[in-house]
């Protein structure tokens, strides 16, 4: 067991972990953050996507200890003060999900995209979601949801400025 310290959704956490423990296992197990899902074992599906220091990563493909001292964001931390995040709102508004299993990964991958590129083109959205698989929706409404969220977030920032 090794001592692991990191920030998860803005909260300091400190735990003993097995060195072989994956980040997704740590999030889902000891932390009980089961919104991050595991859909494959070859880093193809992206259901486990979380933000590591703001960058989307597949949490099945890094060790928990690789997040030592860093900041992790999961879908549970998106809604600030109970206020639904623009991406969550847009996925609901556009019917961007059906079974919802891929959705947290989709949303986190999109959140990473919008953080570095607030006004992505459709092509850039497609590129950013290439590593996330969905079997239900056919993706059409997922791309639409990210576009809608980007507009909503841009509008909000514009209003504040």
């Amino acid at each position: 067991m090794t001592k692991l310290k990191m920030t998860v959704n803005g909260q300091q956490v400190e735990n003993d972990v097995e060195p072989a423990s994956l980040l997704v296992e740590f999030l889902r197990g000891p932390l009980g953050l089961t919104g991050t899902h595991v859909g494959c074992d070859t880093a193809q599906c992206g259901a486990c996507t979380v933000l590591l220091d703001g960058q989307p990563v597949k949490s099945c493909s890094i060790l928990a200890l690789q997040a030592q001292g860093r900041s992790v964001g999961t879908v549970e931390g998106l809604a600030a003060k109970g206020q639904v995040h623009a991406l969550q709102e847009a996925f609901m508004a556009t019917h961007g999900l059906q079974c919802g299993f891929c959705t947290p990964g989709m949303i986190m991958a999109a959140a990473g995209l919008l953080a570095r590129n607030p006004k992505p083109t459709e092509e850039q959205i497609v590129y950013a979601l290439e590593g996330n698989l969905c079997r239900c929706t056919g993706y059409v409404n997922i791309v639409a949801a990210v576009q809608q969220a980007a507009s909503a977030m841009a509008g909000k920032q514009g209003g504040a400025a």
Partner: protein, 783 residues
């Protein structure tokens, strides 16, 4: 409880509403089975066969049992000794020699012989998952490898290894349908005859949530609770209890969020029984989480049928008859579901929307050393419709007719309804030409030449495809029961044995309840996935809305009628004078009134409970016309879908947003079959070569996003109370032939002519490049 009830009009059926499922799912608060854990929970993993066909000589688990954290190790022999029954059921069709249909017995854990790579051989239960994985590696299984066969045509030819002694030719069963003599006559007088050779390749359904089972002893009873991801809770209850010699009431199956089903999560799997058996033996919770590798190896596959199909037409293009010879690969163990799909369900729609009465079908189900076949979105109908649409296209090309014109000449007319097809299936309503005309307009069929010229300028090969089709729905289980509870807390609970699996059925049911109760959507709670509360067939065959939803409507109406009597007592009035509106009963012409929930609170058991069932008179026959255009890059053979239009007749629509999602999402699955998906077993070793999402190519986000999708709601179904037709599988069934015929059209126009019809799915770039550059084509599967 006199909460102000707001106007429900915007939330009833026919309205686009936000799904009630979504707030939890987008917040990461979904409850998929793997999200649940119990105190004292153990973890189970399976040691699976590395061979396609082998005799098990010995299983030595001594070293594994001695490892730290290991709780138990079970082998097939252990289960046989414990009296665990096999899962196989008698097949409903005979073998060619007249003997009963044959299959090797499918056991929970393989005993004496393994018959496919990935078959479960040993189950290891440990305190942690890592301990279980490590211990499984320490189990020594001695195998004697046997010759294997993975191809169905090869398996039924002489000299192939037999999977069970009852079927030396590996034929599980076969069926003939139609009138061979009439078809021979039709061909004798035909002006045109065409044939196509078809590979409808094996697919992995691949819902994103892998299967998970959490079985545990119920505290205070001798019952076992099986929590899992399934479309059919009652079938799992009956499968588990039957296998473990328990009364069905001794098993409680619970299902929470299901991360996609697509037919693959129907019925009872060996792992479900194993988890229940282990929980009963160990008196502890036992959890099994499938890895994606196991999903590919050991969750049922779909399709896998090869055909030689022929069609006879008169000089005007009227179809006189058709003949289809098919061989279906049903895997190592022939299941009732696996054989019915190909030998009966597909044939029901063989003639589709066309007026064809002479058919001659000969279908053979063959066992091979591969994962058993089961339902996958469409289940039999995609195969039959694909064959028909390919024949129609071949005939149109042969006769140099516009493919939509040939179809038009053969469509069943509205005046022929109700129409009985040669499989004795009765279509109640349909106006297929009207649907086709709208789709041709939506897809601008007439304007194709201009786009063709534009593609040519860019050195792209453009092609177009059109499919007109229908499908059978219901699973032929027509009755659903629903229980309504009006609760004093201000909620109406609706309990159904159908099962949500991501399709949004809870929202649609809630909308139907809003129609009747006139309360806001958030007052309705849909309860599913608990065999202690409701039992039935479950969700499959696109039946949940038009069968289960009908029961929601009827039970809701009965609840109001019953509650009117209770209100009359409460208000000391005559029931005939009670009026109901938006959650409130009042006495006509007075100001005396009582709220629905207040009334519930006043009952002896503090609720109003009504049970009711509804029965649909027949399957519904949803139908559609899809139109697609593709561009093929002649340099690479790569296919791009560039336009897609569909007009769909699913009768009355309850949730417009949801049905659109079903059709478009379903179409993308159908496109996956057309262009990229294929399960491959190595012919010599029987190893599964497509066991991850790296090798099995489901569509990614870049597949296509320009769907023009419309619904014609002017032709409601006449055999159910909602006037609705099933929609869950329609898009998938239509997309595959439409995309394939568009690609064939592109290559035929590029100089390949009718040779382009030799292409086989999936239409991956390499195959198209070989066809274009080298005139190389795959061989005909039936010689």
């Amino acid at each position: 409880m006199s909460a102000v009830i707001q106007a429900p009009g915007r939330y009833g059926s026919g309205q686009s509403v936000r799904r009630i499922e979504d707030p939890a799912l987008v917040a990461g608060r979904g409850q998929f089975t793997d999200d649940m854990s119990l105190p004292g929970q153990t973890h189970m993993v399976f040691l699976r066969s590395p061979y396609a066909h082998a005799r098990i000589l010995s299983v030595d688990a001594a070293a594994a049992k001695a490892m730290p954290g290991v709780v138990a190790v079970f082998s097939g022999a252990d289960l046989v000794q414990a009296g665990v029954n096999p899962l196989s059921q008698p097949l409903p069709f005979p073998r060619p020699d007249g003997k009963p249909g044959a299959t090797a017995m499918r056991r929970v854990l393989a005993h004496e012989v393994v018959r496919y790579v990935g078959e479960a051989v040993v189950a290891v239960v440990a305190e942690t998952r890592i301990a279980a994985i490590n211990a499984a590696e320490a189990v020594m299984v001695d195998y004697e490898e046997l010759p294997c066969v993975v191809d169905a045509v090869q398996a039924m030819s002489g000299g192939a290894p037999a999977l069970c002694p009852e079927a030396p030719d590996n034929i599980a069963c076969e069926m003939r349908h139609g009138d061979a003599a009439a078809v021979t006559q039709a061909f004798a007088k035909a002006a045109h005859k065409v044939s196509v050779d078809i590979v409808n390749q094996r697919l992995a359904p691949s819902p994103m949530e892998p299967r998970v089972v959490l079985a545990y002893p119920e505290s205070g009873t001798k019952r076992i609770v099986v929590q899992l991801s399934s479309q059919m809770p009652t079938a799992v209850r009956d499968g588990v209890s039957g296998s473990l010699n328990m009364d069905p009431g001794q098993i409680r199956v619970r299902v929470s969020d299901v991360g996609g089903g697509f037919g693959m999560k129907t019925g009872c799997y060996p792992e479900d029984v194993m988890a229940a058996f282990a929980a009963r033996s160990l008196k502890r919770p036992v959890k099994w989480c499938s890895q994606r590798l196991e999903e590919f190896q050991a969750s049922t596959h779909g399709r896998d049928i090869v055909s030689h199909a022929e069609m006879a037409l008169d000089a005007n293009g009227k179809v006189l008859g058709m003949r289809v010879r098919s061989v279906a690969n049903v895997g190592a163990y022939a299941s009732v579901t696996g054989v019915i799909i190909q030998l009966l369900v597909g044939p029901w729609v063989t003639t589709s929307v066309y007026d064809i009465q002479a058919i001659d079908l000969h279908l053979t189900a063959v066992m091979t050393n591969t994962m058993p076949l089961g339902a996958y979105r469409g289940a039999g109908r995609p195969e039959a419709i694909y064959t028909m649409e390919r024949l129609m296209d071949a005939a149109a090309r042969e006769m140099k007719l516009d493919p939509s014109e040939l179809r038009r000449r053969n469509l069943i007319r509205p005046g022929q309804m109700p129409y009985t097809n040669p499989m004795q299936q009765v279509y109640d309503v349909g106006n297929f030409e009207k649907i086709m005309d709208q789709a041709l307009a939506l897809g601008d069929w007439k304007g194709f030449d201009a786009r063709l010229a534009d593609s040519k300028k860019r050195s792209k090969l453009r092609g177009r495809g059109v499919s007109t089709f229908l499908e059978w729905t219901s699973g032929n289980v027509f009755t659903e029961q629903v229980t309504v509870h009006v609760l004093p807390e201000g909620y109406i609970e609706i309990v159904s044995a159908t099962q949500a699996m991501g399709q949004g059925i809870a929202t649609s049911y809630a909308q139907l309840a809003v129609d009747v109760f006139g309360v806001p959507l958030d007052r309705i709670r849909i309860i599913q996935g608990d065999t202690d509360r409701a039992n039935g067939f479950g969700s499959a065959g696109s039946r949940s809305l038009f069968v289960g939803g009908g029961a929601v409507k009827v039970a809701s109406e009965n609840t109001i009628e019953h509650a009117k009597k209770l209100a009359a007592q409460s208000l000391e009035a005559s029931a005939a004078d009670i009026e109901y509106r938006q959650g409130r009963f009042s006495v006509a012409g007075t100001d005396m009134a009582i709220g629905l929930f207040e009334l519930a609170a006043g009952q002896a058991d503090e609720r109003i409970t009504v049970e009711a069932s509804a029965t649909a008179g027949a399957p519904s026959w949803p139908n559609a016309c899809h139109v697609c255009e593709v561009e093929v890059d002649p340099e690479t053979g790569n296919v791009a879908i560039v336009a897609y239009a569909s007009v769909n007749d699913i009768g009355n629509v309850v949730s417009p947003t949801i049905v659109r999602g079903q059709v478009d999402g379903g179409a993308v699955q159908g496109i996956g079959q057309a262009l990229s998906e294929r399960v491959v077993y190595d012919r010599d070793s029987g190893q599964l070569l497509t066991a991850s999402f790296m090798d099995y190519a489901i569509p990614h986000v870049d597949i296509f996003r320009g769907f023009k999708t419309q619904f014609d709601t002017s032709i409601p179904c006449t055999t159910n109370v909602l006037g609705a037709k099933g929609v869950g599988e329609l898009g998938t069934i239509g997309a595959t032939p439409t995309v394939v015929t568009a690609v064939i059209d592109a290559l035929a126009r590029a100089g390949l002519g009718r040779d382009a019809e030799k292409l086989q799915m999936p239409l991956a770039a390499e195959q198209l490049w070989r066809a274009l550059a080298k005139r190389e084509f795959p061989p005909a599967p039936l010689g």
